[in-house]
């Protein structure tokens, strides 16, 4: 049977995470369809149709961005699929468990490795243990951590057919009344190849600009600790860790970050970690590939200059 991947998109652009999940979903054994819902679904569908390994793209344009409208739509389509797969991010985390309960199934979420169409690995305890799960259920409902799967190789675009699906009339539910968007043209944090992260040691939103300057110089995304977000130095969608975004960049530069286990949970997949901290004993300094003991307020400006900024 076939696999349905739920596309994630924002401002008319398919997320890079969706492309990775579509590529990873090829390991699930069936032909892969992609479902695009919400505003701009038609435009996004064309982007999904160009991905490799897509049998067809199905669209439900204009559906409201809530689990209460998405889930009845998925319930109607579920019979056609052996696997329904979402990116492990806000939309998938919101909808997949609700769908699972409606279908009386146990979902397997935050998957970091597909061993077989019914066997998966997922982290527990903030990534301090990894469980191997087997599901003998008739249908698998999954979320995949995009950071754990490679980006698809660039290839000439494919051309899958796009077909609309009828969305069921959903009962009156939650209405979206306002959005507060973090502006910026930086790479997507969850899939960025370079991330510069800042901790509460920055001390103010103004000083956090240092982290952003270094990031912009390197073409990097910006991350932050929960403490930095709670203090108002960085927006919530920059939080990296157990309860924020999980990243696996080639290079992570951590500035004034202690390395609490909840933060480490989000960076375990980073290839190279550089840490800058006044405290040589900070947990992050112990696991960093390269560590520099020093005051970030002297080190970072000099580093920016040395890198030609």
């Amino acid at each position: 049977m076939a696999v349905l991947v739920l596309a994630e998109h924002d401002l008319g652009a398919l997320s890079p995470a969706t492309a990775r999940v579509v590529a990873a979903a090829q390991a699930l054994g069936g032909p892969v369809d992609v479902l695009v819902t919400g505003q701009n679904a038609e435009a996004v569908a064309d982007q999904a149709a160009r991905l490799h390994g897509v049998r067809r793209v199905r669209t439900a344009d204009g559906t409201a961005p809530t689990a209460e409208t998405l889930v009845p739509l998925l319930e109607g389509l579920a019979g056609e699929y052996s696997h329904i797969v979402a990116v492990s991010a806000a939309m998938g985390r919101d909808a997949i468990p609700r769908l699972a309960a409606r279908l009386d199934l146990m979902p397997v979420t935050d998957i970091v490795e597909i061993l077989a169409p019914d066997r998966f690995r997922r982290p527990i305890y903030a990534g301090n243990a990894i469980e191997t799960v087997r599901s003998e259920q008739p249908r698998q409902l999954l979320t995949l951590r995009a950071s754990a799967f490679p980006a698809p190789r660039p290839e000439p675009p494919a051309e899958a057919p796009v077909e609309p699906v009828g969305a069921p009339d959903a009962a009156p539910v939650a209405e979206l009344i306002a959005t507060f968007r973090t502006e910026g043209a930086r790479p997507d944090l969850a899939t960025a190849r370079i991330v510069v992260g800042g901790g509460v040691a920055l001390g103010s939103a103004g000083a956090f600009r240092l982290v952003e300057q270094l990031a912009d110089l390197l073409g990097a995304a910006v991350g932050a600790t929960r403490a930095a977000v709670d203090a108002g130095y960085a927006p919530n969608d920059w939080q990296v860790g157990q309860t924020g975004k999980v990243i696996a960049p080639d290079l992570y530069i951590a500035i004034g970050i202690s390395g609490a286990l909840q933060h480490l949970a989000g960076i375990q997949g980073a290839k190279t970690i550089v840490a800058i901290n006044t405290d040589a004993e900070a947990p992050l300094m112990k696991i960093a590939d390269y560590r520099l003991v020093g005051d970030l307020f002297t080190v970072v400006p000099e580093l920016i200059r040395a890198l030609g900024g």
């Binding site: 066997r119 469980e131 191997t132 009344i177 959005t179 919530n236 375990q268 970690i273």
Partner: protein
């Protein structure tokens, strides 16, 4: 609102550095500190604040787990919940079974609002609130960072991938708490003493007549690969060279 139900789970304390059992059967939970799941503290705090503001009359704290999980119900009662319910289950339950038990409790208690944490930090599932909303066919707002009553509705700020999004929900509804929802109070000693006087019911899970059998098989639990430590860098010039090289490598792929 007449009643708010808050679901609280007892988990390995978030400060404990856990150990995987050598036989791969799970994580060592004997003789480790257990406490209320951090997110659930924010859920309880939100309920108590709504009651203090006159927006809710009664808060019922419910936990599903072994007898010892009454500890976290007592914590909720000390924070200001009025009544506790332990659905006693010795075995570890999957999130779907937990959601079904909570749905059964909700059918009896008929709350207008159910508050949960967004995820339990042991299994890091993040399922139960959304499952419960699905079983009850109620609207849901997951990952809430602000809750405000608005007439017969609730306005909830949710933390999402691009920032934040505000929703208005009809009641009854399910809301799951994120860490920025509020600052949970530490119950003062007199409140802790008073909590012991509050009603706390214990009912066996079997009483609800729900199939609690697991659907998934955990084949093995293993420790993640350890990161080898690195080395100290002499100065900023060397660090700049390392970063420039790593950047070049990242661009090539």
């Amino acid at each position: 609102m007449d009643k708010i139900l808050v679901a609280v789970k007892r988990v390995v304390d978030h400060n404990v550095r856990i150990r995987v059992k050598p036989d791969g059967s799970g994580v060592e939970t004997d003789n480790v500190r257990l406490s209320m799941n951090p997110f659930d503290k924010h859920a309880v705090e939100a309920a108590v604040q709504l009651a203090e503001a006159g927006a809710a009359r009664e808060i019922v704290a419910v936990s599903i787990g072994p007898r010892g999980a009454t500890d976290v119900i007592l914590t909720a009662l000390a924070m200001g919940a009025h009544r506790g319910l332990l659905v006693e289950a010795e075995e570890k339950l999957e999130t779907l079974a937990v959601a079904k038990l909570l749905a059964a409790v909700a059918a009896e208690e008929k709350p207008e609002l159910i508050l949960l944490g967004k995820q339990a930090v042991d299994d890091d599932a993040g399922h139960v609130g959304q499952m419960l909303a699905g079983l009850l066919d109620w609207p849901q707002a997951s990952f809430a960072s602000a809750i405000k009553p608005a007439g017969d509705r609730l306005e909830v700020m949710r933390e999402v991938d691009f920032g934040r999004a505000e929703y208005r929900l009809p009641l009854p509804a399910v809301v799951t708490a994120d860490l920025r929802l509020n600052v949970p109070r530490n119950a003062a000693l007199p409140m802790v003493m008073k909590a012991r006087q509050k009603p706390l019911t214990i009912r066996p899970a079997a009483e609800f007549g729900i199939d609690l059998a697991p659907r998934l098989r955990i084949e093995i639990v293993a420790a993640p690969p350890a990161r080898a430590g690195g080395r100290a860098v002499a100065d900023i010039a060397e660090l700049a060279t390392i970063i420039a090289e790593a950047q070049a490598a990242a661009e090539i792929g």
